[in-house]
Point group: D2
Chain length 303, copies 4
């Protein structure tokens, strides 16, 4: 079960599709093995970058079961259960927890406006999934349009003992990590794990501000693992040097919309998944974009 | 099957719940009979005011089957199939059409920004549900935040022969009806049915601008039926007089968020559904609000 | 100077233009006299419905001076000073206060997201205009997209003794009035004046919930005055009867965007302003719309 | 006068303030000289990153005159004239053109939704500033929330011969450049200058896609100049190598909100402006943030 001491790199998994759009089971298994080999300390599936809303309820469940079965307990698996309503959230959550998931992740709906609405929404969500299910707050305003202050996050943590992690991807967000860590150090709030998303764009600084690792899906996850380890070992310059070599591609992959297509393309080129198919609606890579990705990969792999 | 000559009043049905939140089958049947008795020429279920996103996939399907079974072919049943992804939309659509629905309704996701994105989204949606399924464009910018010009609506109609109806609830929207009717009269676009939503706030004028009726859920649907008939009979003053007597409650019911709770309260008070329960997240009526509804009902029923 | 005991009807004034778009001084004077004759207890200028953002800084100031001069102290004049930046807000505020305004009104910019940002924005705004200038919070989420809870409003009132009024136009908003009045009755917050906007759509109920009057611009402001007086005299049925007779036009005038054009048309027809010109960008009334307004006016004036 | 053959680097100038918030004239002059020395081929003032909305109308004009006087014709000066209304836009535009500006820049207001509304807005804007004033479309959806397709941009270019440049800062935006260049190469649209903003995050690729240069404000503008030159000389690897060395700071400076404070801090540290003061509302740099900026500067300057 997921705990507030989770650390390292939880790789955000895309959902691999075959050319015709069906979920690709063989690629799924290969991807899981590749991520574990890269040093992942956990896997996160059915997130925004997992095209979760594009899967039917039964497809999502089948995919989760497949990943959990392949992982076979080697690392925790976190499952995104964000949904337009609590009935769907509750149903998916209970089924994946029964199947062996370590916890679930919940992003707020874009209709939430005030501090109180956000806090209240998470109270209802915890009631829906059950107070015994460990869960992760996803704080990603660029996509959700919901802004959570440190104080709001602390209120959610206080009201829900089963909240064990913050997936931090606010932008800018470095001072938010500092504020949360300062508050937990001072005993003003319970300490939860903070893993950082946002494509990893600020990972070395995020670690230095007090994050416990990354939860993102960059197509060379071994870099994320190495950076986290180097920072933890106090090797600051090496960490930044390594990260900065990858930053041109990280930046390219962080483009909204097209970014997932870029990520799937690189994973395909690395032999990890069979196709870079996205379900509709989704962008197609232009020849110019593909040439730019190739250029960036070549520069990284040469270094 | 739903056609572009649909007219009259398609009542938007709420989903009745028992006090504990389960779907209330007995109330569902009673509601269907009440709406048919009130003169509904069609029913629409699982729309925004049907709390569709709060139902699990199997609950939504079961509710649709129940309504269709109870209606037993007396009028067409339109089912809202708007979903975050096409897999869910396609699944629900094919199942309800198999069960006997007359057509489906699709609202655009709030992520659509440009004219082209909207047109393209509907092309993908039609591919998902199949070109043989009659369907309705839901044009409700207050909730979806997607603004469709008459030109965009005409492009959608042209690209999809199975599009048979516009559920019109733009605000302001009267000149949009005129523009669409002028274009179809001039042979510039295919004529589809236009039924008006938006709580019915402008129904007499909408009829006079060329709409074919209403698709909304005001808690006294017999008024909507009578207004549509009076306008069709050329009895303008009588139509407005009748409508204006109800306008104070129509306005009250059109309040965002709390409006559905108001509507369910009135339906409960009229003996049509057993409880006014909403699923979370949803507002609760304050004692002051209840007193105001009672005041408005009394004034209507006295008149 | 505006105080927290302000009550009655503060009419929101449009800015009258000549056909070529210049500010129409003669119509301005005529409008002021008409509103005072209708029983206005105050006037509010340069609000959203005053097309304030379409005026250059010097035009806005000249218009404010003209109105204040014509009013000549008979009632307080409130001036909207909402601006993209505090320098412009501060400049306009100090100039109109020097010219004899009774206070200013400030709407929040649409960039504010969290409770804290809203509170903080108003602290900065008060610093900009000076703590000695009486001012009004404009709470109009339909236009500003900023949602203020009763608690946030109370924090703003507490931090700023010069805040004397809430222009209430949340939707739904009746329970917000009740919450604020309950809090001030219980001594939990300072009592400020609450005048209601939102086109007057809920005025009788708003009064019954504890509002002190209206601040809106319906084209028959004498109705607003009479409704406020009737409610204050305990004549509930008469108040609602009168209001409901006007509701069809109130509703028509409350349509976003086109509503101001409707209002100016009626004011022109009533001989109050010379033209119904709006500055660009602004809607033009279609012949069908004009016919509908005429129909609504006729029904009101016949009654 | 600005023409459609503009190229190179137009540096986006911040507005330097003294510690108390007054415009700092000495720093303004020093900044202008520093940018020209760095190789700027133009300057752009009073943009979003110039805190334009925070300046009063007379301050904005005085600042523009100061910059234009100091530049003294050595390069073109483009002035942002985006405003909430056309009266203010027209006033500022005519005054800065009289003072010697080469052209103006106009961003769309966030209220625009449809393709047609955008095209129409720019028609009205051109009417307001006069058809003889060369102007720049600012396409920055992250901030404006207005999405312009290539087709919409081409319609604007076609309807307005005085439109000479696109400030391109869509994200993702590379394929948009390709689409526009392909259209002008094929004679389907007039060729305008494309200068890229967005902090410069994709500059080398943007140049390769057909952009003519950059219009952004990175605190080491000499890097932007060198990258543009290297790409123009066909030195692709050198261009990317140089750019990638700066990318860690470029990324840091591109954080919304805090980014301008970062930029001003670096400019202060480089001796270009006297203080890093922002007008309210604006972020303050935390000690941790300052330490990170210093780290990034050190790594760049060491390289």
């Amino acid at each position: 079960m997921l705990t507030s001491s989770a650390a390292g790199v939880y790789v955000i998994c895309p959902t691999p599709f075959e050319g015709d759009g069906r979920v690709d089971v063989a690629s799924t298994d290969r991807m899981v093995e590749a991520y574990l080999k890269a040093g992942a300390t956990g896997l996160t599936i059915l997130g925004i970058m997992g095209e979760a809303p594009k899967l039917a309820a039964d497809e999502a469940l089948a995919f989760a079961r497949q990943v959990i079965k392949t992982v076979a307990g080697r690392v925790p698996v976190v499952v995104g259960v964000s949904a337009a309503g609590f009935a769907a959230m509750s149903g998916l959550s209970s089924k994946v927890m029964d199947a062996g998931a370590a916890g679930v992740m919940i992003a707020p709906p874009s209709t939430l406006k005030t501090d109180g609405q956000i806090v209240s929404y998470y109270a209802d969500a915890v009631e829906a999934i059950g107070a015994d299910v460990p869960w992760v707050i996803q704080d990603y305003p660029l996509t959700t349009n919901v802004v959570m202050t440190p104080k709001v996050i602390m209120r959610i943590i206080e009201q829900s003992p089963s909240c064990v992690m913050l997936k931090h991807e606010d932008w800018p967000g470095l001072d938010k990590i500092t504020a949360l860590r300062r508050a937990s150090d001072a005993g003003q709030t319970r300490r939860v794990s903070i893993l950082c998303g946002n494509g990893g764009m600020f990972l070395p600084f995020e670690m230095e501000r007090g994050a416990d690792g990354a939860m993102t899906g960059y197509a060379y996850p071994e870099m994320l693992v190495d950076v986290v380890n180097l920072i933890n070992q106090g090797k600051r310059t090496e960490a930044h040097d390594l990260f900065d070599r990858h930053l041109p591609l990280v930046r390219y992959e962080t483009q909204p919309g097209v970014g997932l297509a870029v990520r799937k393309y690189v994973l395909k080129r690395r032999g990890i998944i069979a196709t870079d198919t996205l379900r509709k609606p989704g962008p197609k890579l232009s020849p110019e974009t593909i040439a730019e990705i190739e250029w960036l990969m070549e520069r990284i792999e040469r270094a």
